[in-house]
Symmetry: C2
Subunit: 409 residues, 2 copies
């Protein structure tokens, strides 16, 4: 038989499977998953979506199953522009590109902007899917540390100065300012302003990934970077996956028209277009106010879930373990004592303790984070989630103790 | 304002928009489009698809709108494997990858196999979308000429020898053996066998793109290369777009498990997964025999269309114009007299003659073909199609005459 492996491209050799995707395979067995950011299916408005699909097939007929423009249906682009305008972002139809999930948006942005070696700044830790999408194009990832108020602007400035000292400059910064994945942290308004000032001063683009601000839990969500963008340097990315349903596979980009046009040309070679039926469903969901009506419901669902997880962590976690108090999103970021290796413990967690999490190292752009993990509160039933946290606490406690007191016999 | 353009990557600078996609914009105005390969909407089984969607939402509930595995739903992969087995291809669930249209399949194959400079053989002319998908990864495209029996094996052998003489070797061959896009030609069984022998001898992989064999019009379709593949060197690609509905955005790959696994890892960074609702629709369409029942209907629809176009060409085209007699698919390949530049004439065709086609040069991997064009018989109403051919004939006749007898005053 042919050995295909020796024919793989150099870039294919570097492709690593996402630990999150691998973990999805464990859902539904006797393992409790605190892994993937899978939405609570109770949040899907099934009856209304069913009604919409029927109406779409009735009213649009064959068009709902036919080819559609690469950029997305014109009507949908306009509706997304209005949706964004209500959130303070000036956008017209021409500023919107509909994508096959936000993953494709990140792929297209990387394809269109990143040359090998280009410095790309990001929160550190940051979203695994972005690291994957970018890695193919060979950027030099420059991680910027965070604190409770999000990305540390002083550290970003220092990184920019270091780059400048090398005669280099940042091509773009990839940021998740609100309810960040994986930490759940939200960047303060002051820091947002400061980041945009740095972008002006050092002349880089900002990719704002914003899946979670729509159901921000701590009052009024802070303004998006895109809404504060005076010069067209912010490329805004979001997704339908968390506010309606991930199975539709739709996301969108809002950016200057020149950028949208180039991304659309790139999309021709990747997926040609996003799924037509899904686009019509989203169009109607926006027009009928279904998405707007979803948001308060999502807040309620995820507030209960977040609070339950924080309470369980408080109850079960041993001394020396720290975690974030997310302002929304789907994740809590956990730091075990330094000596606990969450990477090495994962197989044991899955097979003996029957709990899944994502090791934090996967989210680091520059190594490190072996004692960290991302815990999702979005999916398991509340009782199972509490039990999952208890199992994880036991794992960490036993391992921290074992490492603290080496076995003497 | 920021000028994004000067920040585009080197590869983005080389991205060109597909002429076919640009032409789609003209459909529905007073221009008759013989451009894109858009299926006749009358071929969509609307009522049965509506029934299936309702059942899926009823029976699968939230799962139909939830995340799904990157490789595709397990059940669907199994069903596609059975569908392929009925066509002589030995395949199991693990050999199938579900993609977001066959465009994504081509993108993933290019990503996983093509290093810059790798020689890639193909039919010449060949499918535009493949040229686009591959170009990003910098292959050296080596076009192999065709005749009425498809790819010329002698020319392929000569190309392989030339490569060998340079100390180089082909990484893969991209072929559309049945009802080729853009020529409509079908490769004979003898040539298929000979190509696979060359692949063994020169040790390259074969990507078989097969959207059209399912409704081959001239009797029994020839066996796919994949069904003749003894050593696992054929990577088979097909799509739902032509046999059910393009708006579902689904395609699939059948290949050795090792290849499918690597393509799936690559897919994580591109679209994460294909649309879940679409996958359930396809699963049911296969299980209920809807796809099998579609095929004879498609044959009837496209036979009438092909014959109508061939008749119109016979009726209207001036002396010196030649065209293929396709055994299926959606396209006729037209060669105008050498002096007629179909690239240069396109704006005039659209604005004055009100007819759209795709200039043949777009399908050539090595330049040339300025006097050729691809005509689609798949979409316009028959009367409009005839009228479109008449308009095109007039354009060519007038231009050929004008060039033959330069204006004297």
């Amino acid at each position: 038989m042919v050995e295909a492996g020796r024919r793989f491209s150099a870039r294919a050799g570097a492709l690593r499977s996402s630990k999150v995707r691998e973990l999805l395979k464990w859902i539904g067995r006797d393992v409790i998953s605190l892994g993937g950011g899978v939405p609570d299916p109770a949040s899907f408005p099934m009856e209304e979506i069913k009604r919409i699909i029927l109406d779409v097939l009735e009213e649009r007929g064959a068009a709902a199953l036919q080819y559609a423009p690469t950029e997305g249906l014109d009507e949908l682009r306009g509706e997304i522009a209005r949706f964004m305008s209500r959130r303070g972002v000036r956008a017209r139809e021409e500023n919107v590109l509909v994508t096959s999930g936000s993953q494709e948006a990140l792929e297209l942005i990387a394809r269109v902007f990143i040359d090998p070696g280009d410095p790309v700044l990001s929160d550190n830790p940051t979203y695994l899917g972005a690291i994957q999408a970018f890695a193919v194009y060979g950027p030099r990832m420059v991680g910027v540390p965070m604190d409770e108020a999000g990305l540390r602007v002083d550290a970003m400035e220092a990184a920019l100065k270091r780059l400048g000292g090398e005669g280099s400059r940042a091509k773009l910064a990839y940021l998740i300012p609100t309810c960040q994945n994986p930490t759940g942290r939200t960047m303060s308004v002051e820091r947002r302003r400061a980041v945009l000032e740095l972008a002006e001063e050092h002349d880089f683009l900002v990719v704002e990934d914003d899946p979670y601000s729509y159901f921000y839990l701590d009052g009024v969500e802070p303004p998006s970077l895109k809404s504060m963008d005076g010069s067209g340097r912010v490329i805004y990315v979001s997704t339908v996956s968390k506010i309606l349903a991930p199975g539709l596979r739709l996301g969108w980009v809002v950016a200057d028209e020149e950028i949208v046009e180039k991304l659309a040309i790139a999309k021709q070679g990747v997926t040609l277009q996003s799924p037509t039926l899904s686009m019509y469903v989203l169009l109607e969901a926006l027009k009928r106010g279904l998405v707007d009506r979803q948001l308060p419901k999502l807040k309620e669902i995820y507030r209960v879930r977040r609070d339950a997880m924080l309470e369980a962590l408080e109850t079960y976690m041993p001394e020396g373990v720290r975690w974030t108090r997310p302002s929304g999103g789907m994740f809590v970021w956990l730091e075990a004592p330094e000596r606990v290796d969450m990477d090495a413990l994962l197989p044991l967690a899955l097979t003996k303790y029957k709990v899944a999490y994502v090791p934090g190292s996967a989210f680091h752009v520059d190594g490190g984070g072996q004692n960290t993990a991302r815990l999702s509160f979005s999916y398991p039933p509340l009782d199972a989630m509490r039990e999952g946290v208890a199992r994880l606490a036991k794992l960490i406690a036993e391992h921290a103790a074992a490492r603290a007191a080496p076995a003497g016999g």
